[in-house]
């Protein structure tokens, strides 16, 4: 359906042209009748499709501004009449929108100015300062503690926290930050996630004012590094069965913690640990353990072939005396650790797509550069199909993450949403990384090309913070109302 349009003065744009078909038929307008005129069907009418449903921009080329003013009808300021086009020639030309393979669904236009500035500033830091370090750090399994202080200076640790030396940004900004750092390495993003979501967040959400004042500013600056002790050697997915115990001693007003935790990011070099243990009442509580407490040791896990740029270890507690002031009082039960993990999982949903984007771009560049059988690899259909799949998953994944971020900011997000996206982003990113590795051929196994490092890392990212299957059960329970975690009922 075509509508005759009067362009109101306020909407008049300089770069307006008529639809091509009419322009070809229309003569250049050089007569200015005294009355305001419209573009007629023969030469002066302008027809557009229903503006409600199509983003059409009228472009007028070669029309002088004097003539354009003819279109302006100051008396009327709205689209006047809708009438059916009688001619068979329906003007079809629209301003051509260029597809941007780097940003398939124009995520850029959905971000606020702050979010764009934060993302750009942090992206520059990651590419300038982190990318040069990662090759050797990963190869030699070295954790650069400095990056924590550098990130602290930039204010990206605990960014969503308000006050206590933190920036107080939106959750979408947190996601963008995670995506940029994971574009470099998932290990670095793990360090950032642990510090922000698993150490600073529980203290902020469940701690006393004294604890917040004592720990948060120093954690935000990266002066001290924390770790999160939840997973145990015999209890990974089955967290409520944890064996670490916290016995309360009324005489000294301390808790005695005994047990072990494993697969703890940062633990070998951490200054504090937020550890979850079962108390006398059978409920799980959180405790802040400090380096130097007797009986608190953190051996490093050797022989790790993933997240090598970040330090991972165990937390061994042999009757560690923890003062009462170090208990996080505002939560009891599994809700505590799960709340933290949801926070981290959200960051991972964004972050893993950053790693996938790196692999996609790397594969694209490599296949454009490498010539086999006289043509670039990218000329081949199999390669293009793989890249099309990568582009689609990344673009769709990012849109979902953006919506989730906005819901979290509006306090309208349910944990199952986060489970759904963590699960989706991780499995798709792992697949993209593997495909990219394949596309790079033999060079794909060299860490100089970085893709194999992402393949290794994403195995862990897919597993931690809830495996692919566990999140499926969380969603299954929400879908059916029937839990399938245990066999007993």
């Amino acid at each position: 359906m075509w509508i005759k349009v009067h362009l109101p003065h306020s909407k008049w744009r300089q770069n307006l042209t008529i639809p091509d078909q009419l322009y070809a038929g229309a003569c250049v307008i050089n007569v200015c009748p005294p009355l305001p005129c419209q573009f007629g069907k023969d030469s002066t009418e302008a027809w557009v499709t229903d503006l409600q449903h199509c983003k059409l921009q009228l472009l007028i080329m070669a029309l002088r501004s004097a003539v354009c003013r003819l279109l302006v009808n100051p008396q009327r300021c709205a689209i006047i009449s809708a009438s059916r086009s009688q001619g068979s020639a329906a003007p079809a030309q629209k301003a051509k929108v260029q597809f941007n393979w780097r940003d398939g669904l124009e995520l850029e236009g959905q971000l606020t100015e702050d979010e764009i500035m934060i993302r750009d500033s942090f992206r520059d830091y990651c590419q300038d300062k982190l990318m040069p370090r990662i090759l050797m750090a990963n190869r030699n399994e070295v954790f650069h503690r400095d990056i924590v202080s550098e990130m602290g200076e930039l204010g990206v640790l605990g960014p969503t926290i308000k006050g206590y030396g933190c920036a107080g940004t939106s959750y979408v900004a947190y996601g963008l930050i995670a995506r940029e750092v994971e574009r470099v390495d998932s290990g670095y993003r793990s360090v950032m996630s642990v510090q922000s979501s698993l150490v600073m967040h529980p203290i902020y959400a469940y701690g006393t004012e004294e604890q917040k004042e004592k720990w948060l500013p120093r954690l935000a600056r990266g002066e001290i590094l924390g770790c999160f002790g939840l997973t145990e050697p015999n209890h990974g997915s089955d967290l409520s069965g944890m064996e670490t115990r916290a016995k309360f001693n009324p005489s000294s007003r301390t808790f005695t913690l005994t047990g072990s935790k494993t697969w703890i990011t940062n633990s070998p070099v951490a200054d504090i640990a937020v550890v979850w243990a079962k108390c006398d009442d059978g409920k799980v509580s959180g405790f802040i353990l400090e380096r130097g407490m007797k009986g608190f040791t953190t051996p490093k896990i050797e022989g790790k072939f993933s997240l090598r740029a970040s330090a991972t270890g165990m937390i061994i507690m042999d009757e560690v005396e923890v003062p009462e002031e170090n208990l996080l009082p505002k939560v009891s039960g599994m809700g505590g650790p799960f709340g933290c993990m949801n926070n981290a999982r959200y960051g991972i949903a964004w972050g893993s797509l950053g790693a996938a984007e790196f692999c996609f771009h790397a594969a694209r560049q490599y296949t454009l550069d490498r010539i086999q059988f006289g043509v670039p690899l990218a000329r081949n259909q199999l390669m293009q199909k793989k890249m099309a799949d990568m582009l689609t998953e990344i673009t769709i994944g990012l849109q979902a993450c953006l919506q989730l971020g906005r819901l979290i900011d509006a306090k309208k997000a349910a944990p199952e949403m986060i489970s759904m996206l963590k699960r989706n982003s991780c499995v798709k990113s792992l697949d993209i990384a593997r495909q990219a590795r394949d596309m790079l051929g033999g060079n794909g196994i060299s860490d100089e090309y970085h893709v194999i490092r992402h393949v290794m890392n994403l195995e862990t990212v897919n597993t931690y913070e809830g495996t692919h299957d566990i999140h499926a059960l969380i969603l299954g329970r929400a879908i059916t109302g029937l839990q399938s975690f245990t066999v007993n009922t």
Binding site: Q14, Q98, E113, D114, M117, I118, D120, S121, F122, D124, Y125, E153, L154, G155, V156, P159, C166, A167, G168, T169, A173
Partner: protein, 242 residues
């Protein structure tokens, strides 16, 4: 005590592959990534450093152009400037605008704001003119320290180490003065998150060149091609240039 004016220009990002428009009237700018001119970033960093060392009280970031330049001013605010001034010039005027008009605007602002220093980047990466700083100093009749690779404030004087063809030259000039930043002056900081959030609340004043008494840039006349050097000399003599 002192106020510093820093000029920032919004240019096409250095990493972008420039494409010429099909009608050869210029380069494609629509949808292309723009950012702050790298030398302007260095200028902002120097101004903020001087403020941190307590030599100056206030840093004002100034940019001339259409509405989009406010993004560049916001980046300058996020790096530590206190407030911004957006001198609005759009459309054809913006395309015709060059260093002479910009320096007139800066000269007028420097007087209006009672600035002790005007710090600019040595040149912009899109036009590479390397003229604005020098012209501004001339219009104000202020001393200039251009191609600065080191700036030290010493009482009422500024010691500037300049990068020149022969090496380094050290000069001492009195304030108020105009400085232009060269590459090795400093390394610009990354805008930190808290500063980006704070920048939202900082003010950007809006004005037109006419408000500063600066008139429209003249329409650019087409040039004339001549065949030989003698023709050129004859033409220049004829119109009184030489």
């Amino acid at each position: 005590m002192s106020r510093v004016l820093v000029g920032v220009k919004r240019v096409i990002d250095y990493a972008v592959k420039i494409r010429v428009k099909p009608d050869h009237s210029g380069v494609v700018t629509d949808g292309v990534k723009h950012s702050m001119n790298p030398f302007c970033e260095i200028a902002v960093e120097e101004a903020v450093k001087l403020k941190e060392k307590k030599f100056i009280k206030e840093v004002v970031a100034v940019s001339c152009g259409p509405t989009q330049v406010t993004e560049t001013i916001r980046t300058a605010l996020a790096m530590g400037c206190d407030r911004g001034i957006h001198v609005e010039v759009s459309g054809k005027d913006y395309e015709a605008m060059g260093p002479l008009q910009i320096s007139k605007i800066f000269a007028a602002l420097a007087k209006k704001e009672e600035a002790s220093l005007v710090i600019l980047g040595k040149q912009a990466i899109d036009d590479d003119c390397n003229q604005t700083g020098q012209m501004t100093a001339a219009l104000l009749d202020w001393p200039q320290g251009t191609f600065a690779s080191e700036v030290t404030i010493d009482g009422e004087k500024v010691k500037v180490v300049r990068e020149i063809d022969g090496g380094l030259e050290t000069i001492k000039i009195s304030m108020p003065a105009v400085l232009t930043a060269d590459l090795r002056l400093n390394t610009p900081r990354y805008a930190t998150l808290p500063n980006i959030m704070k920048a939202k609340k900082k003010k950007i004043a809006n004005m037109k060149p006419a408000d500063l008494g600066v008139d429209e840039p003249p329409t650019r006349l087409a040039g004339v091609k001549v065949e030989t050097v003698d023709d050129l000399v004859a033409k220049l003599k004829a119109n009184g240039t030489i």
